[in-house]
Symmetry: C2
Subunit: 490 residues, 2 copies
């Protein structure tokens, strides 16, 4: 058990913050709300990026890069967009500093005021659709399937590392289509890519669904989402995919001529996931001993620690360890051999346990005599002894097993804490325990708001696979055709 480390049961939020800092994932910077992503956290983001990027390319998308700045006037062009975004944002008003007259540092040059202020992008629909106007003339130019990897800024007042920061890293896909139907198919396709990634890489089960009007992206006709349950029973929105209709095409006058030569507005989608996924990853699997990482995303999947007293012992162990490392690396496994001599094996064990390395192999002098190793699993904290020659086949299958086992455990947690409720009393009671609640709702934003005000629970989504079922709204008693998913959320 890591020393002086808050337990989840004591204070989940404090546990999370301590974990992120102590595992060297990220830290707060001296710039309000902006984080520094440290190498260990960034390595996870790099694997996420590479994996998603391949998935996007396999589904026909290409990458491009659009400006960081958006002219203020662009934000007003799509009426509902400006309401939802661009209120809390970083505004560039000047473009020069000059030496301070008092000789101390620099001041903003009052003569270098921009004619029109620039907004640091909170999302890029406006600047991208302004650009697409020049790129799309004919149906031959469609579909346009573009993704961007970028940083964005939203001036959040209360920030938490990875989960909510003023600046964060993300990808945003922006596609353009001939028909509404094609755009909806794209929206759903990318939702499925996200769900696939969440479940098969993060080992995090998700509910796929559609947002209510209240929770919809500003400027979208329909927002699809994936929602995951964290260990405290709260929901985390892990990715969204928006069907934007013709809203942005109309706002930025993007038309194409059809095969028949008619001018029509283009249909749009946008979709994104961010460094928030790292927060989701942490809160899904980690425990009171620190990080637990699914093998597919662990920067180091296997660490080998030598246990020795003499230089000769180290040399013999190193030779064996490097042979094992090479063997495993040939199978595509990320292995680290930690032969630093300024830290004890015990220190190293704690370190890698805290940092969530899925498998630890220890080799001592007796192992060398017996041709064995000690193998420790991070997820179960169990140890076992194996013949050295078994490792080549055992390690890959164990990594798969861990990946699956983490998913199963997370799924069980969600299933155990998802309930159908039919009364508002039951709703409130179960909510306190941390639950996903499937309940009838009368379909009005008013009722949704009232439930939120009274309980802090929001409708996370209308699940895609929802069965239709007659019932009455738990709050208003009015008739309802289906249950929706309520939870408190990050």
């Amino acid at each position: 058990m890591a020393k002086d480390f808050t337990k989840r049961s004591e204070d989940y939020s404090k546990w999370y913050n301590e974990l992120v800092l102590r595992a060297d994932m990220a830290e707060n910077s001296d710039v309000r709300g902006c984080m520094v992503i440290k190498p260990y956290g960034y390595a996870i983001w790099e694997t996420m990026q590479a994996t998603l990027d391949k998935m996007f390319k396999d589904t026909g998308h290409v990458n491009a890069y659009f400006p960081l700045f958006i002219p203020k006037s662009f934000l007003s062009k799509e009426a509902s967009h400006i309401e939802g975004f661009a209120k809390e944002c970083a505004v560039v008003t000047h473009y020069r500093l000059i030496n301070s007259p008092d000789g101390k540092g620099v001041i903003v040059d009052p003569d270098a005021k921009l004619e029109e202020e620039l907004i640091v992008r909170p999302t890029s629909e406006t600047i991208i659709w302004n650009t697409y106007r020049g790129w799309i003339q004919s149906y031959r130019d469609l579909p346009l399937l573009i993704n961007q990897w970028a940083n964005v800024v939203r001036w959040e007042m209360r920030t938490r590392l990875f989960l909510r920061t003023a600046e964060f890293l993300w990808q945003e896909g922006h596609t353009a289509h001939v028909t509404a139907k094609e755009a909806v198919i794209e929206t759903e396709k990318m939702l499925n890519v996200y769900a696939d990634f969440a479940e098969n890489w993060l080992a995090m089960p998700v509910v796929k669904g559609i947002k209510t009007a209240n929770e919809r992206f500003a400027g979208a006709l329909e927002t699809y989402c994936i929602e995951a349950m964290m260990q405290d029973g709260k929901a985390l929105q892990a990715g969204t995919s928006h069907f934007l209709g013709q809203n942005f095409a109309k706002a930025f006058d993007v038309k194409f001529s059809t095969k028949e030569g008619v001018q029509e507005y283009v249909w749009a989608t946008s979709w994104g996931v961010s460094t928030r996924l790292i927060g989701a990853l942490i809160m899904t699997h980690s425990d009171d001993n620190g990080l637990v990482l699914p093998p597919k995303l662990a920067p180091t999947q296997v660490v080998i620690v030598p246990i020795y007293k003499t230089e000769e012992q180290l040399q013999a162990i190193s030779e064996k360890a490097l042979a094992i490392k090479k063997q495993l690396e040939a199978k595509g496994i990320r292995v680290k051999f930690d032969d630093r001599d300024n830290q004890s094996p015990g220190w190293k064990f704690s370190e890698y346990e805290f940092k969530g390395v899925p498998l630890r192999i220890a080799i001592g002098p007796r192992d060398m005599e017996n041709g064995t190793v000690e193998l420790a699993r991070r997820d179960t904290l169990t140890k076992s002894f194996h013949k050295q020659e078994e490792l080549e086949n055992l390690v890959p299958s164990l990594l798969e097993e861990i990946q699956q086992s983490l998913f199963d455990k997370a799924l069980k947690l969600r299933e155990d804490n998802t309930h159908k409720v039919d009364t508002f009393e039951e709703f409130k009671t179960l909510l306190e325990k941390g639950s996903f609640l499937l309940a009838h709702w009368d379909g009005t934003p008013e009722t949704e708001d009232k439930i939120k005000d009274e309980t802090k629970a929001t409708i996370r989504c209308i699940p895609l696979d929802n069965a239709l079922e007659d019932g009455v709204c738990i709050y208003s008693g009015k008739p309802s055709k289906q249950r929706v998913l309520f939870a408190r959320a990050y």
Copy 2:
């Protein structure tokens, strides 16, 4: 020859701008000085990134991410740094927009003024060294070898796509070391990585050298650089690696305790290359028919174009083409089969020629009868016929040959246009022709400035492999120990 396309001999600068636009590499956005990098240009950047990233990791570096914003006061902490940077930059002064009282759009909320303005990073030494203070306590924490992939902003007044834009993409390495010697070794190591990348991937020969005090990075003790000759004889600085001494450690109070327990300031380096390299790539190899790309960086290395009249012909050709594609892809070659039926073969030939695809394979009905293909090389514009079964071995070796041939051609251009000069008259005459000039200089910034004022030529570098040689300064007539490299530059 591409229609309505400016020739290099007519107007090199116009040729460049047209090329970037017509080859779909990038375009200017509606945000002053900021470019949109289009998918074709971005694909080249992605290959550059992936290649460099691997080179950085192979030399022990890891990636991290630091904030986009820098508090204004940070910039003043290193005296010479603020003089060189942070004057022309984007300044964030407010963090909120509100609805305009006249109901038209949004205005900046006067009540949401930041206490301290934030600067959009022009480079990250200050924010990173402010962070390193918390990361470095002991010699055990060193060396710290970190790289960042990021966007940066410098408010340039005259911008050109890729070469000089207000926002650009780059990587910046920031390392911390125990001794000055170790930091210098790192500075030189990364210069060599850049030179290796420029020569072996961009096929662009470079001169490695050291900048004079005038041209040194603001805050560095020594700036190393690689300089390449463009086709017009002008120089382009393609990458820099800085030995920063203890300047930033002192400015941000970053000390470590040595093995002996003494507190010392840390030694630093920083090094970077940017999307500017894409401009260098274009100006090194491209011609009056459009882009010429070295195979290693070409998004598509081989394009296969079917020539057919009937549906049956297309089907037979497609089968063969896809078999060839599969065969070549198995060898790691990037192949595109363009069977679009809404463009003619002639149109496609022009298109891929303009976009610099290194090899084009055309297959028609007669080729199908004879088991042949027509193969066209983009660099030489030559065509040849080959048996289909030869392609598997021929194509990889041809791609290598093209890569080498582009390098050789660029090297010859540079050698033909590099001259030793001993008089200022000769200097001025040869400079007009577009040359690299090796000339004696008296070592003073004053002389350097005067030569620049009179000729627009700057000292690009003092070449690393310079032979010492007694001589007299071409301008002042004062004694000199070595020749330095002069040129006009981008």
